[in-house]
């Protein structure tokens, strides 16, 4: 078994009287695609918000690379290599595609201000490296030809891919994708499927995925967690989950 990257135990999130996430456990190993599925309002996005530091969990532990991160500030968690996307695309829409990619590398470019004011050699070199990294990832998601376009003017599917590329350029180890296939057409969904597999196999990162598209989830996941009404319902390989009577009931009962 490969190494444990993310280990979540007893994660709980309360909003006043509402128990949005109840005692959820998750484990993501290196180079794994793990999915979280569940009906609408199950608390999947809330789990992401807890993991990425947007919410402080009411209870439970989140261990990333052997280090407790529950309660850390969002940007600190992101800097540790746990980066997320959002259910609704969040791009800097008035900036160009390449600028979106550069903002994400803010930290890698963190030279002192005088260096930038007088464009020292080192500054220009760092800037060029950032540009190259951005170009590399734009090529991976098939957006290189759109590099100088305004991000807000891209087609929806392209915006979603840009969001993933923008995360990747921060060089994360664990990527959290919140319904990346929502609103994509079948061809784009297939592209996305290939991209996620490529992230795991070639770039050797792990992906934690929330998705409603069952054929996508079943096709690429190494492990699946099912939650309903904030509570873990089942987990296992795609085949285990498909045959689990509780899961079938939860999904069929919903319809």
């Amino acid at each position: 078994m490969s190494q444990l990257l993310l280990d979540v135990n007893g994660l709980t999130m309360r909003f006043g009287g509402l128990l949005a996430v109840n005692n959820v456990n998750l484990a993501v190993h290196n180079r794994q695609i793990v999915s979280i599925i569940g009906p609408n309002g199950a608390g999947k996005t809330t789990v992401f918000n807890c993991l990425s530091g947007f919410y402080i969990p009411s209870d439970g532990s989140v261990v990333f690379k052997g280090e407790q991160i529950a309660g850390l500030k969002d940007f600190r968690i992101s800097r540790k290599g746990l980066v997320r996307t959002f259910q609704h695309v969040r791009l800097f829409s008035n900036m160009t595609v390449i600028e979106n990619m550069l903002v994400a590398q803010h930290r890698h470019l963190d030279t002192n201000i005088a260096a930038g004011l007088f464009k020292t050699k080192r500054y220009r070199q760092l800037e060029q490296e950032a540009m190259d990294r951005a170009a590399y990832w734009l090529e991976q998601v098939d957006l290189l030809d759109f590099a100088n376009r305004e991000a807000g003017n891209l087609a929806y599917g392209q915006q979603r891919r840009l969001e993933i590329a923008r995360c990747m350029v921060t060089q994360p180890e664990l990527l959290l994708l919140d319904e990346p296939a929502a609103g994509l057409n079948p061809r784009e969904t297939k592209q996305l499927d290939e991209l996620i597999v490529q992230l795991r196999d070639e770039h050797e990162i792990s992906v934690l995925l929330i998705e409603h598209d069952m054929s996508l989830v079943m096709g690429i996941s190494d492990h699946i967690y099912v939650i309903a009404q904030g509570t873990p319902l089942a987990d296992g390989t795609p085949d285990d989950v498909k045959q689990n009577p509780d899961v079938i009931k939860a999904y069929l009962g919903e319809e």
Partner: protein
């Protein structure tokens, strides 16, 4: 219609309360006593006419906007001819402009040069506040405090320690930046509205402090006799102080008080060019992009590992240091400063310059600074109504051109292949 009636009643009510408080009743001191004096009958007539105007314009606002929809709006973008916008000509135009800025003062009157110097101070202030409000999206209502800090740093350092203008310029900027940092650190974690309130309070605190710390600042009497800048040690007065040479003797020309005015103007030009250079570089740097990104989507920034507090703080600090710069120069130009120069209205004017110019747009801010300082000079006879005119201008801008005179066009990074 019903909705309009509500808002009409509400707006009229607000107008009533405000005008009654500000114009209707006045506190005047008679000997040792304070007395409440009511407005004259004619004034009450005007007050109620104003309230009625507000009421009806709100009540019939749909009809009014339908009626005015036909009026063509000025297309300011077309004021600049197409060729000028082409990138090839730009460096030449800029060079011509800079040369013009340096040659021009030798051909016009002293008064005009003096006014231009004042305008340049406002350009600097506008550019500085533009970083904070326009680029980083932080509403700072007490910007004048940093201006005051810059001015008093020079005045005090010069009168107590005899430091020269050129030594004080960076010190003033650093001091103002430090104050910006110390103020911003706790406040920038809060939501936007609180920032506006806290900065407003800070502006007043600084002014009141300067007013009351008589032992150090001279209180309401201010500080006078502040040294003028020198040119490599050459002074611009008729007779130089001990150990110094006056400029005219050194050059072997007759003394003219115009030299000093032109010299101050030239310093202002250099300072503005420096500020422009810094801001332009910043906007192309990761930091400048982060300001912009933060204004666009804070949540996305956080998810990408950007520390929003630090980024906002840098914008706030840079803005403050620019004001410190401007303040230092202001003190040197005036030769006399007092808390009177740093009242809230100054903050409001600088903010108006930023809004008028188009948030984030540097060229727009420069244009607006020129409009805001030169127009009042031409309309001297209306000086009592200056604030009223500003108010009217703001309302018209919000109505017809909320994006400002020249909306911001940011330099985009390009991927070259």
């Amino acid at each position: 219609m019903r909705q309009n009636l509500y808002s009409a009643v509400f707006a009229a009510g607000i107008t009533f309360v405000l005008t009654c408080l500000m114009i209707g009743v006045k506190l005047t001191s008679e000997g040792t006593q304070l007395k409440v004096v009511s407005a004259t009958e004619a004034q009450w007539g005007w007050i109620f006419a104003g309230i009625a105007l507000v009421f009806f314009s709100q009540l019939f606002r749909d009809q009014i906007s339908a009626a005015t929809a036909g009026i063509p709006r000025p297309k300011l973008a077309t004021l600049v001819p197409e060729q000028v916008r082409s990138p090839k000509l730009k460096p030449w135009l800029l060079a011509a402009l800079v040369v013009g800025l340096f040659v021009w003062p030798f051909m016009v009157s002293r008064g005009a040069v003096d006014l231009a110097t004042l305008t340049l101070i406002y350009v600097m202030l506008g550019l500085g506040l533009n970083i904070v409000v326009g680029l980083a999206g932080l509403l700072d209502l007490g910007y004048v405090a940093f201006y005051a800090i810059g001015a008093y740093s020079y005045a005090l350092l010069s009168s107590y320690f005899g430091l020269s203008f050129w030594a004080c310029l960076p010190i003033a900027a650093v001091l103002a930046a430090t104050f910006g940092f110390v103020l911003g650190f706790p406040v920038l974690r809060l939501r936007g509205d609180y920032l506006a309130i806290v900065t407003l309070g800070f502006g007043e605190i600084i002014r009141i402090l300067l007013n009351n710390w008589t032992a150090l600042t001279g209180g309401p009497n201010g500080i006078s006799g502040i040294e003028k800048p020198t040119l490599f040690g050459l002074e611009f007065s008729r007779r130089a102080s001990e150990g110094h040479v006056p400029f005219h003797e050194f050059m072997g020309i007759d003394y003219s008080s115009g030299h000093k005015v032109i010299f101050l103007y030239l310093i202002a030009v250099v300072l503005v060019i420096w500020v422009l250079f810094v801001i332009n570089r910043l906007m192309r740097m990761p930091l400048g992009r982060a300001w912009e990104a933060l204004r666009e989507d804070e949540i996305a920034c956080r998810s990408l590992g950007l520390n929003r507090t630090v980024i906002k703080l840098t914008a706030f600090t840079f803005g403050a240091s620019t004001a410190g710069f401007a303040g230092c120069f202001f003190a040197a130009r005036q030769g006399f400063i007092s808390p009177e120069s740093f009242v809230f209205i100054e903050s409001a004017i600088i903010l108006a310059i930023v809004v008028l110019g188009g948030m984030g747009s540097q060229f727009g801010v420069i244009l607006a600074a020129i409009v805001m300082t030169i127009l009042p000079e031409f309309a001297r006879e209306f000086s009592e109504y200056r604030m009223l005119l500003f108010g009217l201008l703001m309302v018209l801008m919000m109505r017809w051109r909320p994006q400002g005179l020249l909306p911001s066009k940011r330099p985009h990074m390009e991927l070259k292949r």
